[in-house]
């Protein structure tokens, strides 16, 4: 039966087409794999990712992370600061770290506030449906793009030169990036807003600023707030590392304990940062949910 069917011309043609397709697929697969392998070898050569350096590095990585882990003993876990192996001994500078964390959160809040304020002002001309003129629309768009393409750490490095070492440089660097990122999101929200209220206000003689304030802003405010809160979460993460280049916050302290190899303090600070970030995320998520519910109820 099978041998008879195999002699039919249609079956033979189908079989040949199937084999050709298989060959072609195998060829594309092999070419793709060869390209990937070549790119891997090139990248490994470029970034000095040699087997020898990896073999030499891996034990040191294990040792390093082992040293970072705190030595805790069950018997003295909840004992005082003097007892080695207790939690209090691990977090022996908890008060100053908490203060630094608070400072970091403040930096993130100020940067978000300032960035969101600038973004709000620029979003109206950047929105296609609201822009008073085409060139103003393009100008603000390109300006926002320019601020958001420069990485925060790079602008922080530059601002440390201009404004001096300290939190101000970090706040401005994060704020600049925030203005660019939020300005884009804000203008997109505004572009999606229904235009009836705007048309009505403009027809009854409101000027551009009044129409923006009374027709568009009330419609988009909950959305904008929710984006700003989301950005606050992102900025808190950035604020914890912006101190690496001398721009304030807990990052400066973390940089020092890593640079001076204070092993257990590294893990203590990292744990604190993770906890703080998680706490803020939770709070902000709750707030955002309430905001979107409020927006949905109307």
């Amino acid at each position: 039966m099978d041998s008879m069917a195999a002699h039919l011309p249609a079956v033979r043609r189908g079989e040949a087409a199937y084999q050709a397709l298989r060959r072609q697929r195998r060829l594309t697969g092999l070419t793709g794999f060869a390209i990937l392998a070549a790119a891997f070898l090139g990248a490994a050569w470029m970034s000095e990712f040699y087997p020898s350096s990896l073999a030499a590095g891996l034990p040191r990585i294990g040792e390093y992370f082992h040293r970072i882990l705190p030595t805790l003993h069950w018997s003295t876990l909840f004992a005082g600061v003097e007892a080695e192996g207790s939690l209090a001994f691990w977090f022996y500078r908890l008060d100053s770290w908490l203060l630094l964390l608070l400072q970091t959160a403040q930096m993130a809040a100020l940067a978000t506030l300032g960035g969101a304020a600038v973004a709000l002002l620029l979003a109206f001309p950047a929105a296609r449906n609201l822009a008073p003129s085409r060139w103003l629309h393009h100008l603000t768009r390109r300006g926002l793009e320019a601020t958001r393409t420069v990485p925060e750490i790079v602008s922080a490095l530059i601002f440390v030169w201009a404004f001096g070492v300290g939190p101000l440089a970090g706040i401005l660097a994060i704020g600049l990036h925030t203005a660019g990122a939020l300005g884009k999101l804000f203008s997109e929200v505004m572009e999606n807003a229904p235009m009836q209220a705007w048309d009505g206000l403009r027809a009854s003689g409101a000027n551009w600023a009044q129409a923006c304030r009374y027709a568009i802003l009330p419609q988009v405010a909950p959305n904008l707030l929710s984006y700003a809160l989301l950005r606050f979460e992102i900025n808190l993460r950035s604020a914890t590392v912006i101190g690496f280049v001398g721009a304030g916050g807990i990052g400066q302290e973390l940089y020092q304990v890593i640079a001076f190899n204070y092993y257990e303090e590294i893990s203590a600070i990292v744990v604190l940062v993770i906890l703080a970030v998680m706490l803020i995320d939770l709070l902000s998520e709750k707030l955002r949910h309430r905001l979107t519910h409020a927006a949905g109820a109307r």
């Binding site: 809040a109 393409t149 001096g164």
Partner: protein, 283 residues
Amino acid sequence: MSLSPAAVAAWRSREPRAFGATASRRALRWLGGAAFLAWLAWSFWLFDITPARLWNGAAGLLTILRLMIPPNPGELWADILKGMAESVAMAFLGSLIASLLAVPLGFLGARNIVTATLLRFSLRRLFDGMRGVDQLVWALAYVRAVGLGPLAGVLAIVSSDIAVLSKLYAEAIENAETRPGEGVAAAGGSRLQAIRFGILPQVLPVMLAQALYFFESNTRSAAILGVVGAGGIGLQIAERIKVRHWDEVAFIIILMVVTVGAIDLLSGAIRRRLIGRRETAPL
């Protein structure tokens, strides 16, 4: 026709909110505004933000911006190009290794594959913790562990990506259709074969798309890892900022932006070729 004062008063008592905010609400608003202003003033005082400082800084920034024009690659332009290539290589290698390692870890973290709850739970919590550590922190730690250079950068990218990618892969596997795997098992296939032929073909496009997205985002982050000594263009830019060669700094920033844009285009083209225009949203 106008309402008598008595009627207005009656309406006011019936619908107080139609006549504007109530006194208590207005007081609350004032209090909130005052508290906000107090917080603002306190934080300005805390960070020593004064108009004079802002003004001087802005003047300094303007000088820097003026020195940035025209951008100039400078004498050591070969180093700059090598640094940029190094950054892209770091990003590629880091994404590739992380996405390969994340495949088995993703399967281990998926609820429908691994039924040992304790193992899965502890694996996921470990990833949660790793995800909370910023890439720059990883980079700094690896620089202390294996020394300056791009190796530390690659390891930092792998460490911070592996946690997120494993979680995304595990979620993709959990969302996969179970019927193909059941079919393979019913036809006599082993458990491993059911995973290979029933689940892997479904999740592979998602995994590929995520890996490409991570390559894009890693190109951005690999460009700055050098600031803490982990190789790449970041080292070049940090050095030039230190010696205030602002025209070269501007050139490097432009080079970074162009390279990131080119990688985005390339990765987008590959993604469309491999998996079509399917909707796979990034995080």
